[in-house]
Symmetry: C2
Subunit: 225 residues, 2 copies
């Protein structure tokens, strides 16, 4: 089974280079080349490749936006490997959030590029070592969800979890009541029960618990705080 690839880069020379490196492998086929983000999307829809090698800096929609659109399209199964010359944190973050399966720098040795393509085609993910390092660093620093804490969530009933979630969005009892279509008295009952079950004192501690347990996560809320 051959791996079908589209190369997206605004520089023709770079495209040819990648095509040459990968084209020599007999289990890899370059099915198309794109010079812009729009082209990349269009060609992906036509050719349905397994992998798109995506440059970030491109005219007419950059590679990150194109990545997002390709990954989110339910009709496409393409995985995206982002290749770029620079690696500022922001690019990496956006690329990973956009759903890229890999992130390599353009100075990666050809052999590694080829093995990266195979890894990603096989469902894996791959990052440049320097990036992996940073990712680990920020991941370790950020901390993980403590399983023991998360388990205490199980003591709550569904309704209580719903109330806690609402409280952790910064809603007052009155607002939670409106949100859940019940009376304020009911919300109060639930909150008392939550605090009691979790051994907390007030709603601020409940909010902290919600974050620490993973019930709510940073960066996912829509409120304008």
């Amino acid at each position: 089974m051959t791996i079908r690839i589209i190369v997206a880069d605004d520089q023709a020379l770079v495209r040819s280079g990648f095509a040459m490196i990968l084209g020599n492998e007999n289990d890899i086929d370059i099915v198309a080349e794109a010079g812009t983000g729009n082209q990349a999307i269009a060609l992906t829809k036509i050719h349905k490749p397994d992998i798109v090698l995506m440059d970030i800096r491109m005219p007419e929609m950059d590679g990150l936006l194109a990545t997002e659109k390709i990954v989110q399209d339910p009709e496409l199964a393409a995985r995206v490997l982002v290749l770029t010359t620079f690696d500022p944190d922001e690019y990496i973050y956006r690329a990973l959030q956009a759903g890229a399966s890999g992130f390599l720098l353009k100075d990666t040795p050809p052999v590694e590029l080829i093995s990266a393509v195979r890894t990603i085609a096989g469902g894996g993910a791959l990052l440049a070592p320097s990036i992996t390092k940073r990712l680990i660093g920020s991941f370790a620093k950020r901390g993980f969800i403590d399983e023991r804490i998360a388990k205490r969530l199980e003591r709550l009933t569904n309704r209580e979890r719903a109330v806690l979630t609402a409280v952790a969005q910064g809603l007052s009892n009155q607002e939670v009541a409106s949100e859940l279509f019940v009376e304020v008295a009911t919300v109060k009952t639930h909150i008392s029960s939550i605090l009691s079950k979790l051994g907390l004192r007030d709603r601020t501690q409940a909010v902290i618990f919600a974050y620490e347990s993973g019930l709510v996560e940073t960066g996912t809320t829509s409120h304008g705080y």
Copy 2:
């Protein structure tokens, strides 16, 4: 410059296997083998290797704890590559938090193990593809700190940030006052100012803001929630 390595695994056969694979490379030297976590630490102190290949399951202190001790010892410069048969989330999390530079499964092909060792010796980091995938997933899902939100922290004075931090630990006004050695009235003044400056309504929203802005982070608090 040769890369000096210690192999730590409780099974002699496994140790020999790794030693054989790596020993053939002329830029890699196996300087010692350890069968327990304690041995790994002791031998690391003696031989000062560049890298410790660490198994997780070992008698007398497991590999994760040993990793932590080795990485945190300021006199040692060794980097740890964790090698294990299984890859439950918990192991990965703990290993990365312990400060491991890499995490590979034992079914990794010899060639990749060798290149992993070189990568790590060169200051990089390396994870098994399947693990990278999970790491990316949880990283992307967890979300990032919104810069625009973080900037609003700058509007606060130092004292106000201190108060907000305390509030975000779940302390009441009274407790915050004790913590900062001021009167409750002062805490109230600060909080009013915080809410006003950030456009928030009450302390629960302030706690949320503290998390979303990165002022406090999940997994780093010591309270028992």
